[in-house]
């Protein structure tokens, strides 16, 4: 199997992942062949607008898709470390049923997830109406103390007695910067601020020592100063625990601060992936370039207009043929971009871009057609 050639540095390698949802109007092809790599102890930032498939990707990795969703094809090769020996093996998460013992073990120990702080939402980010499996705690329950909920979650994750879990809870609260954690464990969620609740969620997620933390818009509902605190905390904890982070956001400022690598998504595909510096300073896909030009930057936009991406993200039932971005692309080649599907190919500073402008075969044809 191809897994053998993977580098030991790789924690998760997703290949050609396709996820479909059955809805009344038909089939939503939410992911149409997603490819990316998460390296051990590094942060992959996943950026995209609503409907791009960022959150679906995260849920597919956890095997927690809604009931009407299914992984149609593709591989998710996860590098699992053996218990004592340094050996590791790649297992394909895509082949594991959601309720299998292996997936339960992974979710309870190696892969953890945090979400947008749900109690103080500023922006409605979840539009897809996805249902999350019971095994994952989406938010804190209002009628139980923080300590009880943490102890319960930690005891379940780590299979340890509740009392021991409570001690870990207090330690973790201290680690995530909650003052006087012994007093805090008896408070109820509404007594905490939005930032503190998100710290509690991070504490629960990290208590099992995950190798991969999936953070889906974790600071979107928070104020900018709280956002800075939470993001700094995640970077500190990454230093301490060495976990990899998959950081999903729509905010280009946050991604620049958090990620070593970036994957840009558009309509269920990765259109570009590479080192953060290359994505920001030498973007190769027209969508990435347009996205970077369309955001206001402090000190650089005086009196000027923003460059816009024309049109809007099409709805999932009218995705254009060929390259899905062709109807909004400033560099579109008519007759080519709407007829062929671009593949992720090396471009620029070693990143990969899915654009026919970087496809040598296509471009050779274009040039020879021009000559004749």
């Amino acid at each position: 199997m191809s897994a053998a050639v993977l580098d030991q540095d790789v924690l998760l390698d997703v290949r050609d992942l396709q996820v479909h949802f059955d809805v009344r109007r038909g089939t939503v092809r939410a992911l149409e062949g997603v490819n990316f790599t998460i390296r051990k102890s590094k942060t992959l930032g996943v950026i995209g607008e609503s409907g791009s498939g960022k959150s679906v990707t995260a849920r597919a990795i956890m095997q927690l898709l809604a009931k009407n969703g299914s992984i149609v094809s593709g591989e998710m090769l996860y590098n699992r470390q053996g218990d004592d020996s340094g050996d590791s093996e790649f297992i394909d998460i895509a082949q594991q049923p959601s309720d299998s013992q292996l997936m339960r073990d992974l979710r309870g120990g190696e892969i953890a997830m945090i979400f947008q702080e749900p109690m103080s939402s500023l922006t409605p980010v979840y539009t897809a109406g996805l249902h999350i499996g019971e095994s994952i705690q989406l938010h804190l329950k209002p009628r139980q103390t923080v300590g009880d909920q943490m102890a319960k979650a930690i005891a379940k994750q780590n299979r340890i007695p509740r009392e021991e879990a409570r001690q870990i809870a207090i330690e973790m609260l201290d680690k995530v910067g909650i003052p006087r954690p012994e007093e805090r464990v008896v408070s109820y969620p509404h007594e905490l601020s939005g930032g503190q609740r998100q710290r509690v969620m991070i504490a629960i997620a990290l208590s099992c020592g995950p190798k991969l933390l999936i953070a889906d818009e974790p600071t979107t509902a928070l104020d900018v100063t709280t956002q800075a605190q939470i993001n700094d905390l995640m970077l500190d904890l990454q230093q301490e625990f060495g976990m990899a982070i998959m950081y999903i956001t729509h905010d280009l400022g946050v991604i620049a601060e958090m990620a070593e690598d970036i994957a840009v998504m558009y309509l269920g595909r990765i259109v570009e992936q590479g080192a953060t510096d290359s994505i920001f300073y030498n973007p190769q896909h027209p969508y990435t370039r347009a996205l970077l030009r369309s955001i206001p930057r402090i000190g650089q936009t005086e009196g000027s207009r923003l460059e816009v991406i024309e049109g809007m993200v099409p709805d999932p039932f009218s995705i254009p043929t060929g390259c899905a971005f062709n109807n909004r692309c400033p560099d579109v080649m008519p007759g080519i971009c709407d007829a062929r599907m671009p593949e992720l190919l090396t471009a620029g500073d070693g990143q990969r871009a899915a654009c026919l402008l970087h496809d040598p075969d296509t471009m050779r044809e274009v040039t020879s057609a021009r000559v004749h």
């Binding site: 922006t123 409605p124 900018v224 800075a228 400022g253 601060e257 996205l291 369309s294 923003l306 991406i309």
Partner: protein, 346 residues
């Protein structure tokens, strides 16, 4: 303050505005305290400018803006608005805070509002053309056929096509819905528009389109904007001047370049340093803020920011610093505004 309503170039002047919400408890709903959502703020908006109002959630920026256009009745203070309804020239000044509601109605034509959430602020049972037409009907300005053209003109001004007119809000995307909300706000040809987080629920690419549209309309219809938002880069892009609020008080006001590069209040400095910068090669140097925003029903004595301020001294714990002019068009409410060397954004 640098300018007041006596200056014909000033459209709105807010003087010592207060808005307290009572906290009621017990069987008799006795008032046991007050949340001082807006606590003695003063500012002015000049004709044709965009004043950005920033601050964290709960700082009172939305309450301040809504009280300033009398969507809420102020607890105290004056809101002086220059009306141009009766002919041209310098217009007439009214105190919106003191006017009986009956006399407010004609003035409401001159002030409009655009909300954050474009789906909940549009009636789902009304077609787009009815939504845009409604303000005209309310003010007895619906003239049948002529108004049809007017509505069509407004929709095309915000970039919607005529075939959209008979559709309903749910048929539109978030960005298009926000355009409908903007067209409705323009219907009565207002001079002042309060924009409350108008782009924060929109995707990045739609946000840019909407910001450009707002700038175009400002020029075309000679509009003045009060722009409330928490995103510092959006506010910097669209505003001429920016005001910063903290726990119901205004802590700093200045022209945008000045405020962002040369902040003179420690809270502004911390806020700017927390704003993530889309540039991996030049990250901002973060100034850590300890603790949390105080409870507005029980704020600390002295300067409300002192428990989190790294420059705080004894005087800050006892005396409330007033908002004073410290440079050309620049005001700060800090005891040490003149001596501190604060870090701005480059």
């Amino acid at each position: 303050m640098p300018a007041s309503i006596e200056d014909p170039g000033v459209l709105l002047e807010v003087r010592n505005l207060k808005k307290y919400f009572p906290i009621r408890k017990g069987l008799l709903r006795k008032v046991v305290g007050h949340i001082k959502a807006v606590d003695d703020i003063s500012f002015e908006i000049r004709k044709g400018e965009t004043l950005g109002l920033v601050g964290e959630s709960g700082c009172g920026k939305t309450t301040a803006a809504r009280t300033a256009i009398r969507l809420y009745d102020p607890t105290d203070g004056a809101v002086l608005f220059r009306s141009h309804a009766n002919g041209s020239g310098e217009g007439e000044v009214y105190d919106l805070a003191a006017l009986p509601l009956r006399e407010m109605k004609p003035l409401r034509r001159e002030i409009a509002m655009v909300f954050q959430d474009p789906i909940n602020s549009l009636n789902p049972r009304m077609s787009v053309s009815d939504i845009v037409r409604e303000p005209l009907q309310v003010h007895g300005m619906d003239l049948g056929r002529e108004t049809d053209d007017e509505v069509q003109g407004l929709l095309s001004a915000v970039g919607l096509r005529s075939e959209h007119m008979e559709r309903y809000p749910h048929e539109f995307s978030g960005g298009q819905r926000q355009r409908i909300g903007i067209a409705r706000a323009l219907a009565l040809r207002p001079s002042l528009i309060l924009l409350d987080e108008p782009v924060s629920a929109l995707d990045v690419s739609i946000q840019a389109q909407t910001l450009n549209l707002l700038q175009d309309l400002q020029e075309e219809f000679d509009l003045t904007y009060l722009f409330v938002a928490h995103d510092l880069s959006v506010v910097e892009h669209i505003s001429d001047r920016v005001a910063v609020m903290y726990v119901g008080r205004m802590v700093e006001v200045a022209p945008k370049r000045e405020l962002y590069t040369n902040p003179r209040h420690p809270y502004t400095e911390a806020l700017l340093s927390a704003s993530p910068k889309p540039d991996p090669r030049n990250p901002t140097v973060r100034i850590p803020l300890v603790g949390q925003v105080p409870d507005p029903s029980n704020p600390p004595p002295g300067c409300y920011f002192h428990p989190r301020c790294r420059y705080a001294e004894d005087v800050c714990r006892t005396e409330t610093p007033p908002l004073v002019t410290i440079g050309e068009d620049h005001a700060s409410a800090c005891h040490f505004a003149d001596t501190l060397e604060l870090q701005g954004m480059q």
